[in-house]
């Protein structure tokens, strides 16, 4: 059950998006977040949606997985759109006590939902098409200038990649421990909140003990494989900017331009 998460997974492939420089992808993703929050009307939002759709299609990953990644945030979407639905201004279309729905409320709710969905889809597109190693490698390189102020860039990148590697293993382990405790009669599904939190203790303690033991083993294995920090390390997969990345940046620039134009010239419907 806990293992069935598509978010944050990587699907190896050879699509155009897979082959983009991971540094370019990270920078574009950051720019994308800024853009999404700087869209002020439906026209501007439309431009970013089109941009997102283009990248999702080019990633050549089954839409099934994108839907799966949306599943976990569906409640956030519903919750925020409900909030926005009832906070609209203007003439009510429907009213019940203090609750009223207005045209403005509806468009706000749609607007916010589309924004959140776009964000999740874009981040899924990033993690689906970029291997964890590429990601951490790119982060390590992007943060390299921070080494000047003695920021432990390599260590942090290594910690991230190890964390990404062991998340599925620890999830599997959590599942196993839960089954084991259930088999001994642990009751995790009933009782009030306090009782349920307390029921987690017999799961967390073995999980922590085993995680520490694992950490010790992993450190030993890394030393056996001649690991001695970041100095003098090379990487098998070299990353370098290519024409593809330049084209990607141009599409991004076009979108930024489009969003700015729409923001200025299209009269707001909100």
């Amino acid at each position: 059950m806990v293992r069935d998460v598509a978010f944050g997974q990587y699907f190896p492939g050879k699509s155009l998006i897979h082959r983009l420089d991971p540094r370019a992808k990270i920078l574009m993703f950051i720019a994308y977040i800024v853009i999404i929050f700087c869209t002020f009307n439906f026209a501007a939002l439309g431009v970013t949606v089109a941009f997102t759709a283009l990248y999702l299609i080019l990633s050549r990953i089954s839409p099934k997985f994108y839907f799966k990644s949306l599943k976990i945030i569906i409640f956030i979407v519903i919750f925020t759109s409900l909030l926005n639905l009832f906070y609209g201004t203007g003439d009510p279309l429907w009213q019940w006590g203090i609750f009223k729905i207005t045209l403005n409320g509806i468009s706000r709710a749609v607007f916010v939902s589309v924004r959140i969905i776009c964000l999740i889809l874009a981040s899924s597109c990033l993690t689906f098409t970029t291997s964890p190693n590429e990601l951490t490698d790119a982060i390590e390189r992007l943060m390299k200038p921070l080494k000047v102020i003695h920021f432990p860039v390599h260590e942090i990148a290594m910690m991230m990649s190890l964390a990404l590697r062991f998340v599925p293993t620890l999830l599997e382990e959590t599942d196993k421990i839960m089954q084991a405790q259930k088999a001994r009669g642990a009751d995790m599904e009933s009782g009030n909140l306090f009782k349920r939190v307390k029921a987690l203790v017999p799961i967390l303690i073995p999980l922590f003990v085993s995680a520490f033991r694992r950490a010790y083993d992993v450190a030993t294995a890394m030393e056996c494989r001649c690991y001695r920090g970041g100095a003098g390390r090379t990487r098998m997969k070299q990353i370098h900017l290519s024409k593809r990345d330049v084209v990607a940046f141009i599409t991004l620039a076009l979108v930024i331009g489009g969003v700015i134009v729409c923001n200025i010239f299209v009269t707001s419907v909100l």
Partner: protein
């Protein structure tokens, strides 16, 4: 001089200042030649893992010496040359795989050594082919079976291009088919690439495949010799609470019943042959 030469090594886990209660390794001397396949057996806590960690300078002896291809492990500058020459594969395959993609994991060792990217690629492909896991190079390690994970771990060591590979109970956590995969990989490496293999195991049917079997007991070497020599001493092994291969056990009991046998069979096939002969 032998490739590995261990001289009267003693080691205890006691902290500095503490009185050592017992030595985990207590006066072991052992020579290992290039290309040999050695099995080390002994019951739990007899110091096999401790000895294994001495072979690649993960632990340094309290007294005595370990010399690998002319380099003493206790000299600090030698540590990484030694770890390049002697690779250590541990018991739990899950905890040895450090990257989220098989091929990136295999690349970890050569990356640490600062090898050229194109050369790393070549070594990774070669290592994965050697353990028959090339088709899985883009898979996530956590989705592989235990035997497959352990073979990837072996590939991770092979990519460093060591001359000797030490495996600490690599099959202990595997199912029978996983064990079979790992053992045939090791045999292939030893036969085809002349890789020196030190296999620590508590499965006797794995030990009989080695050129030489070393039996440890409470930090010391009890006996060593060819599988035939070692497993014919059924009584001695039993006295030290050690198993013998099932066929040897059967032969031992038959001898006890008054049957006279020429030799002690170690494999199933030998055993069948022996029984056929005895029944004539």
């Amino acid at each position: 001089m032998s490739f590995v030469s261990i001289r009267d090594v003693r080691f205890s886990y006691a902290q500095e200042g503490e009185q050592p209660v017992v030595n985990a390794v207590d006066g072991v001397s052992l020579d290992i030649e290039k290309g040999e396949f050695i099995a080390v057996i002994g019951h739990n806590g007899c110091g096999k893992s401790t000895l294994a960690k001495h072979l690649n300078a993960m632990l340094l002896p309290d007294s005595g010496s370990v010399v690998i291809d002319g380099d003493d492990t206790s000299v600090e500058e030698n540590t990484y040359t030694i770890r390049e020459k002697v690779g250590l594969v541990l018991q739990n395959p899950d905890n040895q795989l450090v990257a989220s993609i098989v091929e990136e994991d295999v690349a970890f060792g050569p990356e640490n050594l600062g090898v050229e990217p194109s050369e790393i690629r070549r070594r990774v492909d070669e290592a994965l082919k050697a353990v028959d896991m090339y088709e899985y190079r883009e898979h996530a390690p956590h989705k592989l079976s235990g035997g497959q994970k352990q073979r990837v771990a072996i590939a991770g060591i092979l990519a460093i291009q060591p001359q000797c590979i030490v495996l600490d109970e690599p099959t202990a956590m595997l199912d029978p088919s996983g064990r079979q995969e790992v053992i045939s990989t090791l045999l292939k490496l030893n036969r085809e690439q002349k890789m020196t293999v030190v296999l620590i195991t508590h499965y006797m049917d794995e030990a009989v495949l080695a050129d030489r079997v070393v039996v440890m007991d409470s930090g010391k070497i009890l006996i060593q010799g060819t599988p035939d020599e070692v497993f014919s001493q059924v009584e001695l092994l039993k006295k030290h609470r050690l198993d013998v291969p099932q066929s040897a056990e059967l032969a031992f009991r038959l001898t006890g019943c008054g049957l006279s046998l020429k030799s002690i069979p170690l494999t199933q096939a030998d055993c069948v042959a022996m029984l056929e002969e005895a029944m004539r």
